[in-house]
């Protein structure tokens, strides 16, 4: 195994402080859920099972790839000029890494984020050089292979000035029996005039507990476009935050979730307009079957003085049967007046007439429902900039429906 050398002191100090914070902090909770049901210590960060790396990742049209298995980074490779990939051990010596590490997602944000830092030992640093244009996606896999695995991958992306970067990650389990705790942190920095297209699909099995944080910091005239497909996990918790840090910053956040059986998706999203003349958009679409439960907490915050901010948030959920439950808090905190901020949230059912129409055309009831739900998702899926991700997500939702 590579990376047996000891970590530098500054890094160990961050880990130690995080451990202390973890020990004294309460589990995150709100009115709808208390995450004190997650006991991370029950999982094993050393658990590891050798798996074959799927061929497709090395064969697909990519700009590079990396693979985590359980809690280890096992493969990484850049196939493009201007795209530099480092495993954590090497990254620690990189000045750009050091400057940005733990600055977007601070270790003391909450108990389980602190746990991530305390347990962190494998990660990936992606540096996109100035002016580099990485059009083909960089492909990252998180493979959950061991029972009771405790996984804490850290990904830090820095896109330097005027660069362009496309990223696609997929997290899955090798079978439906193994349990695990998936606890990733992704930090994304879009420096001035850069553009980052970030897509992620999470479909680990329905025994996995997941708690992740992803935060993007967006510079002058830069863009971060985040797309999430949430299908997996028993309790799947994620926080996405986009911080508009300079004029002209643009944040896009599109999320799709699908829940069945007794799955819970607890999704938090924040558009933080620290500086004015910036734009933010959130679009969330979800469908729930059986006894699935979704909690959506979305906030637009315009800081004092961030004039001419423009922000929009919409969340739509479909409940497919009695027993499913949806809770939503689409909030606004506005401290500037020359702004345009709008949010909307709806919860509804599939329209009977539409199902009836499809049935009259010879489509069976269940198939008609599926078609309507796929149509409902399409608006959000279309926004995903990577074609592979769009196709993969559609296939996975259809698979999961059956």
């Amino acid at each position: 195994m590579r990376g047996t050398k000891t970590f530098p002191d500054w890094f160990l100090k961050i880990k130690e402080d995080a451990r202390r914070f973890y020990q004294q902090a309460e589990a995150p909770r709100n009115k709808y859920i208390n995450l004190n049901v997650i006991h991370p210590e029950e999982f094993d960060p050393e658990a590891f099972t050798q798996v074959d790396i799927p061929d497709k990742i090395t064969q697909e049209e990519t700009s590079g790839y990396a693979v985590f298995v359980d809690n280890r980074l096992v493969e990484w490779k850049s196939l493009s000029d201007g795209l530099d990939i480092y495993p954590l051990e090497e990254a620690l010596e990189h000045p750009v890494f050091r400057k940005h590490f733990s600055k977007a997602v601070e270790p003391d944000r909450d108990k389980f984020t602190a746990y991530h830092y305390a347990m962190l030992k494998s990660g990936l640093f992606i540096y996109v050089e100035p002016d580099a244009r990485i059009e083909k996606p960089f492909h990252l896999l998180f493979i959950h292979a061991s029972d009771r695995a405790s996984m804490h991958p850290h990904v830090l992306i820095v896109a330097d000035r005027f660069s362009r970067f496309t990223y696609l990650e997929e997290a899955f389990s090798i079978n439906d029996e193994i349990t695990g705790f998936y606890n990733p942190v992704v930090e994304i920095f879009a420096l001035d005039e850069s553009r980052i297209y970030f897509s992620s699909i999470f479909h680990m099995n329905e025994k996995v507990l997941s708690y992740g944080r992803r935060r993007g910091i967006i510079g002058r005239n830069a863009l971060i476009d985040i797309n999430h497909g949430w299908l997996g996990g028993s309790i799947n918790t994620n926080h996405t935050e986009l911080l508009m840090d300079a004029p002209g910053a643009e944040g896009e956040d599109t999320q799709i979730f699908f829940g069945r059986d007794s799955q819970t998706h607890f999704l938090t999203t924040r558009l933080l307009h620290r500086v004015g003349d910036s734009t933010g958009n959130v679009l969330v679409r979800g469908a729930l079957k059986d006894r699935a439960h979704s909690i959506f907490d979305g906030l637009i915050r315009i800081y004092h003085g961030a004039q001419r901010s423009n922000a929009f948030l919409e969340e739509h959920t479909i409940l497919l049967n009695p027993g499913a439950r949806s809770d939503a808090i689409p909030g606004l905190e506005i401290e500037a007046n020359d702004v345009r901020c709008t949010h909307s949230a709806t919860v509804g059912e599939l329209e009977e007439e539409r199902i009836f129409y499809l049935q009259s055309r010879g489509i069976p009831y269940e198939e008609a429902r599926k078609m309507l739900v796929m149509g409902f998702f399409e608006f959000a899926i279309e926004k995903i900039p990577v074609e592979q991700a769009r196709e993969r997500l559609i296939n996975l939702i259809e698979e999961k429906w059956n």
């Binding site: 009115k31 709808y32 004092h304 003085g305 004039q307 959920t317 409940l319 497919l320 049967n321 009695p322 027993g323 499913a324 439950r325 949806s326 809770d327 939503a328 808090i329 689409p330 909030g331 606004l332 905190e333 506005i334 401290e335 500037a336 007046n337 020359d338 702004v339 345009r340 901020c341 709008t342 949010h343 909307s344 949230a345 709806t346 919860v347 509804g348 059912e349």
Partner: protein
């Protein structure tokens, strides 16, 4: 012609006079500041209450002591419960003619224009001065229809069984700390009972006035609308300006029976030293309809979330609120709808304006329980921010546990369109006039729901609040 004159008279009314105080007020009884069981027993004894009510008060007091302060909403941690005067009785008698009301109190209400309004367009008026109702009268024809309209204290004496049956059933003392406090020390408030099938076509009004410094006003209102009845109840509130805080913690309980319709309108214009922490809730039975309409213009710190529990099939509710948070004010208001039965409908419309550093927050809850099939709910919140120092927050909670439901929520925050102001100025309006006119248009959904006289009053108050907004 006469009507036009009345309008002009209302428009000419000098609203800065709301802030006056009665220096020569004489009280029949004022309790020492602070609260304990003995004081509660004393209030109950002075009122000559039945023992069961004293028991309810004492039980609620225990709950009040146990309940923590809310940690959200407006700043509450500086409330000094020991410095509050919990009971001040200006007179022992509830008059049914203004001539019998003590001179200094009558003067107050005349300044506020109440007796005049009563003559013109109200079906009944009740006036509460500090802790007690001093005047209560209803038109004879309404009385003959079996409508009851009186102070809660009087209702407790005359109709103890009715009061006992419903008191605390909509807002139990355990609901929150201030509901518990109200139950322990309540005094005054209105009791309205509308018999089956009776429709009260002219509004009944209560007018609440706080005069004494450091007084806490804890009125308790109970409205019972029997099957297929209708009533419109209006309340108005004012107080003089003091430099210490005055606590207003009311509880309002409304029971809307099968097919009944209750409209509850509030024009709240407390002075800024008043902390307004009220719990208002209605239980709505089958096909019943509850309307909450409020204009929140005053009070430095305001927490108010009128609620409707739709309990019967096909029940409906509309919650319409307008809040204006000017300099030094923090309004945390909204609405709550809990749907328990099928085929219910609810609409929440909130309009807020923040100006001069004011903070206005919408906080709402829509909860649909598993059996509440085919609920249709729409929530919309619009906020105007007049300048860069003011703040607007929106926290709508949506909890859906039923599948055949349609709920839509939307919120918009922004400023007044410069092109609109420019257009109006090009037609000869000053910037101030143009801005005020646009604000009036913004709150029109509320003002058009008010009786004409109140709409004029509301517009006049908005004009006053808008003064100096352009500089």
């Amino acid at each position: 012609m006469a009507e036009k004159k009345d309008q002009e008279a209302l428009l000419d009314f000098d609203y800065s006079k709301y802030g006056f105080r009665d220096e020569d007020a004489v009280y029949d009884f004022v309790s020492e500041p602070g609260l304990d069981e003995e004081k509660i027993k004393l209030i109950s004894r002075l009122k000559g209450e039945p023992e069961w009510m004293t028991e309810i008060r004492l039980k609620a007091y225990k709950i009040f002591l146990e309940k923590p302060m809310p940690t959200w909403g407006v700043k509450l941690d500086d409330i000094d419960f020991d410095s509050i005067v919990y009971y001040a009785r200006p007179t022992r008698k509830v008059a049914d003619s203004w001539d019998e009301v003590p001179e200094y109190i009558r003067r107050t209400y005349e300044k506020l224009g109440i007796p005049e309004a009563e003559r013109k367009y109200l079906g009944g008026v009740e006036a509460q001065y500090d802790s007690e109702v001093v005047y209560s009268r209803m038109r004879k024809e309404l009385e003959e229809q079996g409508i009851l309209f009186m102070s809660m204290d009087e209702a407790l004496k005359r109709y103890p069984d009715l009061v006992r049956k419903y008191f605390g059933t909509v807002v139990p003392p355990s609901d929150n700390k201030f509901a518990a406090l109200n139950t322990a020390v309540w005094s005054g408030g209105t009791f309205v009972y509308v018999p089956k099938g009776v429709k009260v076509n002219i509004p009944l009004q209560a007018y609440f006035r706080i005069n004494l410094q450091n007084l806490g006003q804890f009125e308790r209102t109970l409205i019972i609308a029997e099957e297929d009845s209708f009533v419109h109840y209006i309340e108005g509130c004012t107080a003089p300006i003091y430099d210490t805080h005055t606590l207003h913690a009311a509880v309002v309980e409304v029971i809307v029976k099968k097919g009944a319709h209750v409209r509850y309108t509030t024009i709240q214009n407390w002075s800024r030293n008043v902390l307004n922490l009220v719990t208002k809730r209605a239980i709505v039975e089958e096909r019943g309809f509850m309307e909450w309409i409020s204009g929140e213009l005053g009070s430095g710190r305001n927490m108010k979330y009128p609620s409707s529990i739709l309990k019967g099939k096909g029940a409906r509710t509309d919650i319409l609120s307008m809040s204006f948070a000017n300099t030094g004010m923090h309004h945390d208001t909204g609405g709550k709808v809990i749907i328990m039965a099928p085929d219910c409908r609810a609409t929440i419309t909130s309009k807020s304006i923040s100006k001069g550093g004011g903070i206005s927050t919408y906080r709402g809850l829509v909860k649909v329980l598993p059996d509440a099939e085919k609920a249709r709910i729409s929530v919309s919140c619009d906020a105007l921010i007049m300048d860069e120092d003011s703040v607007s927050n929106t926290y709508p909670y949506i909890e859906i546990e039923a599948d055949r439901v349609n709920i839509a929520h939307e919120a918009k925050v922004g400023k007044i369109g410069e092109d609109q102001v420019f257009y109006l100025m090009s037609r000869g309006l000053t910037e101030q006039e143009a801005t005020t006119l646009i604000v009036m248009g913004f709150i029109e959904p509320l003002s058009k729901e008010l009786p004409m006289e109140y709409a004029i009053e509301l517009n006049r108050l908005i004009e006053l609040e808008m003064e100096g907004s352009v500089g």
